[in-house]
């Protein structure tokens, strides 16, 4: 039987706890949510295989939750829970994509058979998902990959803003894929047949950035041995992407502000006013609003480049995408490097999904590329991951050593579905020690 990660969504505490308790006796990892909103929040950060959803709940009902889930994560299996007399709602749910429905109270034999059947279905779905997605692109948007609600929101925002010429500021931590967002906006915009010119502002000194953006004539400065068109000129008819725009000096901000307002500029060493027509997309990992308050960034320039903000979530805020991304990169590097690493072991996935990813998607990509290169088996194993040598990196928790230990053990237990042997193995301690820690910290599997 495949291991399943399950969520029970029901407003009745007794049903939630009862079903959770029954499922846990089968070794499944089970979370609970008392309403649809809580369930959606959990779905944002956790990858679930199977949801049990009560049809009648206050606020958003089970049918609407089912529709939302199926819109964003169609592979998640949803079983509706209904009471006597609400069979019509159950039929409606089946039409909306529910895999089955259960009428309370359930016959234990039927429930067990149903869960076993759905586990098999999930196995088949997983086996086909990666191939199918390559064709359907449901979790891919241009070169962006993500099925979490957080990334789906980004995709929708990109679609909304792509058609206009409005300046966009893409904000997010290093490695989240800000340039890919900019490229996606460009690819969907009317300027898609024009050039996409990217400039990493943090990689140049002020004078070099000036000549890079505006270009220069031969002899304009020492070393200017030939005329060079600037990136702004080269981007005519297309899009300019200014990465790390927060690194631009105040003087350069003034120069760029003029270009943005007038669409005109001077090439260095040339008194002729040149015109250019580009759309500006900027990106930063810094809090520019705070920089403006501190006086380190010009307010007028900030407002000019930040007409619309596209926030890109860090990977730790969309852990549900880690498995998807890991398989995506695995497929890519397996092909590029001509290797035969076709899967990722459950233990390795547990490690990947419990890591904090300070370097975000870029770090995950590097980890998978490395695993494909050094892997000796057909599946990525824990030993292929760079975390093993130094121990699993821990989240930057501020607190005592005991608090950190408690949090880490709790998280590892949750990740492993309270499988004591597996958790102890990953923690590198024996089961007795783990039990003692569980007792000491009063950890309980019911905590969700």
């Amino acid at each position: 039987m495949k291991e399943l990660n399950i969520m029970v969504v029901d407003d009745e505490l007794i049903v939630r706890e009862s079903l959770k308790g029954w499922l846990e006796k089968y070794g499944y990892g089970v979370d609970i949510a008392e309403d649809a909103q809580e369930a959606l929040k959990r779905l944002d950060t956790e990858a679930y295989d199977l949801l049990f959803v009560d049809i009648k709940m206050p606020g958003m009902d089970g049918i609407e939750l089912l529709q939302r889930v199926k819109e964003n994560q169609p592979d998640v299996i949803v079983v509706m829970i209904t009471a006597h007399g609400s069979i019509e709602s159950a039929i409606e749910a089946m039409k909306a994509g529910a895999s089955d429905y259960l009428m309370k109270p359930f016959d234990p034999e039927n429930l067990e058979l149903l869960v076993e059947k759905l586990a098999q279905v999930k196995l088949l779905v997983d086996q086909n998902r990666w191939l199918r997605e390559a064709y359907e692109g449901k979790s891919r948007f241009q070169d962006l990959v993500g099925q979490s609600n957080a990334m789906q929101d980004v995709f929708h925002l990109i679609e909304d803003v792509a058609s206009s010429d409005t300046p966009i500021l893409v904000v997010g931590e290093t490695g989240t894929g800000k340039e890919l967002v900019a490229k996606a906006i460009h690819a969907l915009s009317p300027r898609r047949y024009g050039p996409f010119v990217a400039v990493n502002c943090g990689a140049f000194t002020e004078t070099l950035l000036e000549s890079t953006l505006f270009g220069h004539e031969k002899g304009a400065f020492t070393g200017a041995t030939h005329m060079q068109k600037g990136r702004l000129e080269m981007a005519d008819g297309g899009t300019v992407f200014l990465d790390e725009v927060g690194e631009i000096s105040p003087k350069m901000q003034v120069d760029l502000l003029r270009v943005l307002e007038e669409k005109k500029f001077y090439r260095l060493g040339n008194p002729k006013l040149l015109t250019t027509d580009f759309r500006l997309i900027s990106a930063t990992h810094r809090d520019l609003e705070e920089e403006v308050k501190k006086g380190g960034f010009r307010q007028d320039f900030y407002y000019r480049i930040n007409v619309i903000t596209v926030p890109v979530p860090p990977l730790r805020k969309r852990t549900g995408d880690i498995q998807l991304l890991a398989h995506y990169f695995l497929g890519r590097y397996n092909q590029e490097l001509n290797r035969n690493v076709t899967g990722i072991s459950k233990e390795a996935l547990d490690i990947l999904t419990s890591y904090d990813w300070p370097g975000n998607v870029r770090e995950l990509e590097n980890v998978i590329e490395r695993a494909v290169v050094i892997g000796k088996k057909t599946r990525v194993m824990p030993l292929d991951l760079p975390f093993q040598a130094e121990g699993l990196p821990r989240r930057p928790v501020v607190g005592s050593l005991e608090e950190m230990e408690k949090n880490h053990i709790s998280e590892m237990l949750r990740t492993c579905g309270w499988n004591i042997a597996r958790t102890a193995g990953l923690l590198g301690i024996n089961r007795t020690t783990l039990y003692k820690k569980i007792k000491k910290y009063e950890l309980k599997p019911q905590v969700s």
């Binding site: 029954w22 846990e24 089968y26 016959d107 234990p108 429930l111 067990e112 039990y435």
Partner: protein, 189 residues
């Protein structure tokens, strides 16, 4: 905890047959190598009976059993002869909280097969269910090994084919639980 103090308490409920209680107690003692002590019969707790379903809810019973457990008892096992349920299921043969202290089993559905069952069958089934449920209280989940007593059995006749036996994985987990509770381990494995 001193080993000589450890017992599994057996709590008869609602006038269940004494012979069944004795069989359950003897099997639990033999299987878990922990002495059992049979208490005086107690009525089923108020609130357990659900007149709408005509059955008894396990949760109030487990809560009641928790209040009856003496400190020196590592577990307490309620034995009843009424139709048990938990709110999501039509019926159960027994119920235990994973890693908890109390469990309840019932003989109600153990001899209601379509075909006649042998006289000893009720004893055999009651003993196996009691072992299975008590093992849940030692944090053992269901097992995929078909010849393990922790394999699930939604249909009662399925339990007849199972020996009272833990597979080596479940035995290891049980040993871990004994170590955790500082119980003497005499089950081998």
């Amino acid at each position: 905890m001193k080993s000589e103090e450890n017992i599994i308490a057996i709590q008869p409920l609602g006038g269940v047959r004494g012979d069944v209680v004795e069989v359950v107690a003897a099997n639990l003692k033999a299987f878990f190598q922990i002495p059992t002590q049979v208490f005086l019969d107690q009525p089923l707790p108020d609130g357990a009976h659900n007149p709408h379903r005509g059955q008894y809810n396990c949760y109030p019973i487990l809560k009641f059993l928790g209040t009856q457990k003496p400190d020196h008892a590592v577990k307490i096992v309620g034995v009843a002869d009424v139709d048990l349920f938990i709110p999501i299921l039509t019926h159960v043969f027994g119920e235990a909280e994973l890693g908890g202290h109390a469990t309840v089993i019932s003989t109600y559905r153990l001899d209601k097969d379509e075909k006649p069952v042998l006289p000893n069958c009720l004893y055999d089934r009651a003993a196996k269910i009691a072992v299975h449920e008590v093992a849940h209280t030692f944090r053992l989940p269901h097992c995929k090994e078909e010849d393990c007593i922790m394999n699930s059995f939604p249909v009662i006749s399925h339990i007849d084919d199972k020996p009272v036996h833990f597979c080596r994985y479940c035995l290891t987990f049980l040993k871990d639980a004994y170590e955790e509770l500082e119980l003497p381990w005499q089950l081998g494995g």
